[in-house]
Amino acid sequence: MIALLAVLLAAAAAEPGKKLLQQGRPAEAANALAAALRKDPRNAAFANDLGIANARAGRPAEAEQAYRLAIQLGPRRWAPYANLAELLSTLPDRWDRADEILALLERGLSRTSPPGRINLALRVADFERSVGRTSQARQRLAALDETKLDAAQLPRARELLERIADDERARGFEDWPEAAPSPDQLAALAAAEQKLAANDPRGALAEVSALCAAQPAWRAAHRLRARCLEATGQLDEEARELRILTQLAPADAAAWRRLGRILTEHGGLLEANRADAALREALALEPSWTELWLLRARVALRLGRPQDAVRHLDRYGRGGGGDAEASRLAAAAAAQTGGDAQPPARGSGAKEPSANARILYQQAGTADSPESSRRLLEQALEDSPAFVEAAAALFSVSGAVPERTLDALRDDGTALLELAARVRRAGGSPALVAPWVDRAVETAAPEARFVRAQLRLEQGNRAGAIQDLLTYAASPDPQHLDEARLLRSQVLTASHTDLALLQARRRLAEDRPEAALAVIGDRCEAGVDTDRLLAIGEIREFSGELPQALECYRLAAPAPAALRRLARVAGRAPDARAEPELRAAAAQGIPEALWALAQIELARGRQEAALEQAERFLSAAAPDDPGVPGARAVRDSLLRSSREAAQARARKQAALWGGGGVFLSALAAWLWAGATLQSALRRAPRLFPHVARAIHEVRHDVIKHRAGTLAMAAEPGARREDIARALLAPEPASKIVARHYEALRTAARSLGVRLRRISREPLFGPLVRDLARAEALLRDPSADARELQAIDARVRGDHSRRLAGLLRLGPRTKLDARALAGWIHAVEAEMRRGGSSWTAPSILIQGMEVEFPVEKGALSTIFANLLRNAQAAAEGGEVIVRLGEERDGAGRNLTVLLVGDSSTHAISLEAIEQRESGRGLALARDLTREWQGHMVVRPEEPPWTKAVGACFPAPPA
């Protein structure tokens, strides 16, 4: 009874302190509780309450002393341990005392009852978090059985996990330990610094690069290297260096600023998010760099976020910025939004909790009852409705989130997602947070799609989840793409894809081709599934085993994928065995096949085919196709060789043409070689007698008696067979003419002149052709008579005139006294050399000269023989030479060459005719006759007795 009374009295003594504490008057409460403890020095509760009051009164040392006293007085009570842990977790010397404190707390855990142990464990975990021992804290929380946590403990545990995660994230931004360079390295760095200052950035860069290699974590070296790179204009390298620096020292504000500036000014859209992140880091570390807000505005505009740009510009203005660039960016933002872009009515700054709200939030965390905690949190949210952590904590204790908070966060998708995450961790249902996430998606908050996909999947909305995942995968900078892929595998109906193939691909991505083959095997043979053949081929190709890869693809053909892969491999390793597949690929419009075929053709030496395929490939291939450069080179080479070949061919052709020309020339020479009769007569006048005879024969036999009947073809009553017989029998007229001409050729050859073939002879040729045509027409009873008439006209006209004209081309030799004397002297000399008698002949020339239709040599021969004969006959007697003209019985004008002598020996024409050819008068006879003349023997007036001579028809005037 006495004890009970004592307890009641003690409780009554402590009541004023507690009341003061609840009234928020911790200092007064502490005094009251201290008084109460003095009255009851062994009261552990008094000591604990005193600790709480001192803690709230800002007297941590006294609070710690009180808590330790409470522990000493009641070592099985969990509250003093918990309060001590909470107190010490905020003290700056906790790092140094952590081990001792944790040892104390561990003892408390071992001493307290199981229900209190959970509460204490939560506090210990929080202390561990506070001293950076987050892994131990996680382990401690993980050891708790959630099923045994009560309604207040469970949200507290989840909240603690959040804090641990936050701390870990925050610690990620702590600088790494600085390197410890040697004195020499420090000196080298100083030297490099001097070089840079001396405007030798390249020299400095070389030195500092060596230092960075030697001391990879040496921030000073990286900073200097970044400056050197900046000085040399190597911006990409500088950005890379700055990234390294910010990884080593996340608190290096200058590095962040420079990196943000480089990425903003020189990076494109793909670098925009990195630029903004760097600028945020820089501003977070150094808010005075207000010009960075302008850069952020530029980045926001680049990202198509004009509202963010406006907000950044607002920050810039409020930070004292006044650059005209701000106005330009504002106008650009307005243009992007389609109107005047206004700063958000409730900027993120407005959502930030006030200091009072934060205190209330902290107090709620240490409230001694859920109700108390709820009340404090509601007060905090009244003050700052957008206080996400407070709202989540309130949900932990009340199961609801104030509407005001939701309203405050309506346009802040990121905060809504944060709230949803915290609420979910606090046990909130998917249905509860779904509207918030939906709103976050509407505000285009980053990662909102991914969050909603998770949520929808949890709600069984697979279609919606797939839609969100697809959209998320298509977003520019998904931060959780790997998680999204995993989620997809849960969402999508399991495909029939051979997972081994996917695994093999993953092994390849890990650069482990052997492992990939181990997954799917390396059997590349007929009968193996096409996909597997393709996969094996890809692995072989990955390993650089192109022939093996090609074989796999061949086996997998004609699958389009196989053909495409085969074409690509064959483009690098052409193999004629794959030609059928390559042609199939080419037919399917796979350009690579054309390149492979080109190389195969080239290997075969079929350059034209290779060129054609290469050109087809170049016209069809994508510009970045790896085969393009090679194909271009081959094409150019082939074109060059083709040109050279063409030139060679041209030369060869020219040679052929030349040969052909030679042949044709030879043919032409054969056909056209030789002289026409006109030409031949000029070159060989002695041909004329042959020509004259031939013409005479042609005129008489052919033209007169045969061709002359052609005109009868038009005469009534004339029978064609009669005309035909006249022309054809016994020998065709054309053949007769040809025969005469051939005789002429023979004669000409004997004179050293080659006459043309008759077909090319301008006189006889046409005549023969016309005659042959007429003969042909006459052989055809139905032949047109008019053509025969035409031929007849030509024969009697042109042909006859030409033949007559030819006769006028006969040689003529004019003999006068002088010429004759010369001939005489020649004969005299000859005869005198022979010992013959010689009598100077008398010369009698009618007129001044006489023209003989005889070639000079023939005439001189005739004359010489006549003269020698006369000299011989005269035997020293008289000889006379007469040249004159006369008319014969036929009325013809004759030119006469007579040589008379005084010999008494008579001579007759018959005797001359009987003389053997080849000498003397016989020779004169033959030559005279040859030249259409005749020999004459005439009596002469004394002293001459006779004259032997030659008469020739006088040439027409």
Binding site: K704, H705, G717, A718, A726, G889, A890, G891
Partner: protein, 144 residues
């Protein structure tokens, strides 16, 4: 009406007979003696020029005297001239390619009535001349 063809062969006679035989009759004389003998029954003389195929013993000079030295190439003229010298005044046509126009003119003047036809003249023209000869002999008008 008979035309006396004087030639060393038979080409003229055959040709004329074949093509003009329906209109005219032709008699052949192979040398001067035959021509002289047949001339009285003929309406005209048709003379070849060249008699080189004729035996030399049958050659005659312009007087009709046999002369082996006589030129066979112009035997037709010599025969005509001999005939003329023997009083044969029959119209004559000499088939000769006389390249000397003055020669031809002289012959036509000396041996008239004489027409000299080149070898190129066709049978129709010859026929026309023959008709003219007939016409002049009979007084009828020859048809061209």
């Amino acid at each position: 009406m008979t035309f006396l063809v004087c030639e060393d062969g038979s080409e003229y006679t055959d040709r004329f007979t074949r093509f003009l035989g329906g209109q005219f009759r032709f008699a052949r004389a192979g040398h001067f003696a035959e021509a002289l003998a047949l001339a009285p029954g003929a309406a005209a003389l048709l003379l070849d020029l060249d008699f080189r195929r004729l035996q030399r013993e049958l050659l005659v000079d312009e007087r009709g005297t046999p002369d082996v030295r006589a030129t066979a190439e112009v035997q037709g003229i010599l025969i005509l001239r001999a005939l003329r010298s023997r009083g044969v005044r029959l119209p004559a046509i000499l088939f000769a390619d006389l390249d000397d126009a003055s020669h031809a003119a002289r012959l036509q003047a000396e041996l008239a009535p004489l027409r000299i036809l080149p070898s190129s003249e066709g049978l129709p023209r010859i026929a026309q001349l023959l008709r003219e000869v007939v016409s002049s002999a009979t007084g009828s008008v020859a048809k061209s």
